[in-house]
């Protein structure tokens, strides 16, 4: 069972996430969207979307950076003060994100809410899975202290063993069930990633920061640079 949950399942989830995302981007680009429903409801969205997005972005970054750079992360956590600050920040961000997610769920479920017209079963499933994942993560942060530290010695070696195709479960199989749940649901989120609206995460338009303001597309003419050259 552990072999399936911690070796096969992560590989399946990651393969599908990458494969389906790319396939969908290339073959069905129209279905890629953040699927905003802000136009239908604004006030609750503010209290839900802002905490959720900022919270989850920072928490995800912390998870990923610590996993990719375990050395610097260990150094960062090596000092008692820094560790305490990071621990409290993490806990606060977890609660902040969880609060946002709950508001978002209430917003969708509220009776007579217009947002229901723009809700699919997939949206509901994703919200439910995220609720378990963020809920379990926040609970771990509160009850199993110094997660930052033991994450580096349990989950991170496991990630690296998966990444190098030499799966090693020693560090994770003995963890409490609740923590294991967080791991498995984490990969479930990755599995669901390409099938719903979560794909908008990879479309974060950072290129906007440096692209020119105006976009002109020609159907059949030489590019502007050529025209400028000729017009001289």
């Amino acid at each position: 069972m552990d072999n399936f949950l911690f070796i096969a399942f992560p590989y399946i989830a990651l393969t599908l996430a990458i494969g389906v995302s790319i396939y969908r981007r290339l073959r069905q680009p129209y279905t890629y969207s953040s699927l905003s429903s802000e136009i239908l409801e604004k006030r609750k969205l503010f209290w839900g979307s802002v905490p959720f997005h900022y919270g989850i972005t920072l928490i995800l970054l912390a998870h990923l950076l610590a996993a990719f750079l375990p050395g610097p992360a260990a150094w960062l956590l090596g000092d008692q003060t820094r560790r305490l600050v990071l621990e409290v920040t993490g806990m606060a961000l977890g609660l902040y994100t969880f609060f946002g997610l709950v508001v978002l769920i209430i917003r969708r479920l509220a009776p007579k809410s217009l947002v229901q017209a723009a809700t699919t079963y997939m949206d509901g499933l994703i919200l439910f899975v995220l609720l378990i994942q963020i809920g379990s993560g926040t609970t771990i942060a509160i009850f199993d202290r110094w997660g930052g530290l033991w994450y580096l010695h349990t989950a991170v070696p496991w990630f690296w063993s998966l990444a190098t195709f030499r799966p090693e479960l020693v560090t994770v199989v003995s963890l409490p069930a609740f923590v294991k749940l967080h791991f498995v649901v984490g990969f479930l989120v990755i599995l669901l990633f390409p099938f719903g609206r979560l794909v908008h995460l990879v479309m974060l338009p950072l290129q906007y920061l440096w692209r020119p303001y105006q976009v002109v597309i020609w159907n059949r003419r030489k590019p502007d640079s050529y025209v400028k050259e000729v017009a001289k």
Partner: protein, 496 residues
């Protein structure tokens, strides 16, 4: 010079009767799908009034368009970074209430109602949820100044008037209004394009039509805030932004856009103009008072051999240049200087121009019931029912002289033609009026012809799009015979 062609428009407001045929033609053609119920790519609003969506002109609230900061153009919405920061919640986005809750009626009730004493009634239902609802507003709730004390009184343009003028304005005998039909302006410096984080909105190089790529759009909603005219809408069903496409599929088949083709008052003119794309930014950064003139200056004379030569070098087809020479837009905007852009101070260089309405401005009935026209022919402008300042706030960012110049021309044409056909005004007076208006008798004949006589082909000069040529270069059209043309492989519904 980097010459480009732009399909451009003039709406003659004196001729608009406010029948909304344009809006319905557009709605039936493009926005009768789920998610687009509330969209009116073409709408006709009553002025003074708050418009659609409500108070869209109030940029304090919506932050549309551009501002000049340290001599450089910047989106009023904020920096690019601030846009990305607000991407999960756009504080400047109008909510459905700022438009209206789209509704229909359950007509089946009329058929299913059991026999009884009362007339059966079709209940209003929401087009979003399908449930019963109370209708509280519509896209045109203040049509012809209905509810003027709530709607018209809050028109942002009235800020330019004094307290006394505003009071007089709303006295019943004084009450005056006109219609302002609006579609996307297909601006030369579009702020929706600039605001789109995904780069999904673009201007077509050949004709300047501004479109949203439905495949690139990720639903970040910044275009809706970025457009000061609020002519980009969010489809809540597909999660994509949509806007007026100037009926480019129709135009590519040689037909004018549906709103223009159906216009009952024949107020709409369409044609291609040539402009210098290298000067867009410079023009849009000019001081407010110079914007109208600068925009006119950007439009080039298609009869000038040098312009034609440059245009050919820039790859513009001779047929497009010929079409630009027939363009009624060039004549109204540049040659006669009668058509003005709506709210030039938003700096998007809108390419839809309006001839301001003369009638509500000067229509003061004398005791006999005739328009006072001959005695001191332009005096009526100063004592106008609708203050010139109001028009200036709409069309020239406050420059009254520019509006008065247009009105002198409108009056000049009327006086001259009246002297000619009715004869109760002497020709001498008429020539004097023309002189003061800055028109020649040939101008008058031209204006008169294009305003009152011209047929559809003269009013709407659809440029030749050379569509077949464009397609054949990329593919064999034989392969696509009997296809529907659009080639949508995936039905446009909400993604998964």
């Amino acid at each position: 010079m980097n010459i480009r062609a732009q399909v451009s428009m003039v709406f003659h407001l004196d001729k608009c009767i406010g029948c909304h045929t344009c809006s319905l033609a557009c709605k039936n053609l493009w926005t009768d799908r789920p998610g687009t119920e509330y969209m009116w790519w073409n709408n006709v609003e009553t002025k003074p009034g708050t418009g659609y969506p409500t108070l869209y002109e109030d940029q304090e609230q919506y932050s549309g368009g551009w501002v000049v900061e340290n001599g450089k153009l910047r989106l009023r919405l904020g920096s690019r970074k601030s846009e990305l920061v607000n991407i999960s919640y756009n504080p400047r986005l109008p909510a459905l209430d700022d438009y209206y809750h789209p509704f229909t009626y359950r007509y089946q009730d009329l058929i299913d109602a059991p026999p009884g004493e009362d007339q059966p009634v079709a209940r209003p239902i929401s087009m979003i949820t399908g449930e019963d609802m109370e209708i509280e507003a519509g896209p045109n709730w203040d049509d012809s100044m209905g509810g003027s004390e709530i709607y018209a009184a809050n028109d942002p343009n009235l800020k330019s008037l004094t307290e006394e003028e505003r009071r007089q304005f709303f006295e019943l005998q004084q009450l005056v209004y006109f219609y302002l039909p609006r579609i996307c302006n297909h601006c030369l410096n579009p702020s929706c394009v600039a605001a789109c984080p995904s780069g999904a909105i673009y201007k077509r190089g050949e004709d300047g039509i501004v479109l949203v790529s439905q495949e690139k759009c990720q639903g970040w909603r910044m275009c809706i805030s970025g457009c000061p005219y609020k002519k980009v809408y969010f489809n809540w069903n597909s999660g994509k932004a949509e806007k007026c496409i100037l009926c480019y599929p129709r135009m590519e088949m040689g037909e004018p856009p549906a709103c223009m083709h159906t216009c009952v008052g024949k107020i709409r003119y369409l044609g291609v103009v040539l402009y210098d794309a290298d000067r867009i930014e410079e023009t849009a950064s000019k001081p407010e008072a110079e914007l109208v003139e600068a925009q006119r200056d950007l439009i080039l004379n298609p009869f000038d051999p040098e312009v034609v030569r440059q245009a050919l070098i820039c790859g513009i087809d001779l047929k497009i240049i010929e079409s630009a020479q027939k363009s009624p837009i060039y004549r109204y905007v540049k040659q006669w200087r009668m058509a003005l852009p709506l709210h030039p101070e938003w700096r998007t260089l809108p390419m839809l121009f309006y001839i301001p309405p003369l009638l509500p401005v000067t229509a003061t009935l004398s005791q006999e019931g005739y328009y006072e026209m001959d005695s001191e022919f332009f005096s009526s402008l100063e004592s106008a029912r609708l203050p010139i300042r109001y028009m200036a706030s709409l069309f020239t960012s406050g420059d009254e002289a520019e509006v008065v110049a247009v009105y002198r021309k409108l009056l000049g044409v009327r006086i001259y033609k009246r002297a000619e056909s009715v004869g109760d005004i002497s020709m001498e007076t008429a020539f004097q009026a023309l002189k003061e208006a800055g028109l020649t008798p040939e101008d008058v004949e031209g204006i008169y012809h294009l305003t009152a006589i011209a047929g559809a082909d003269e009013r709407m000069v659809v440029p030749p799009f050379l569509r077949e040529q464009a397609i054949e270069m990329g593919m064999d059209t034989q392969d696509f015979q009997e296809h529907r043309g659009f080639g949508n492989l995936i039905w446009p519904t909400r993604g998964l």
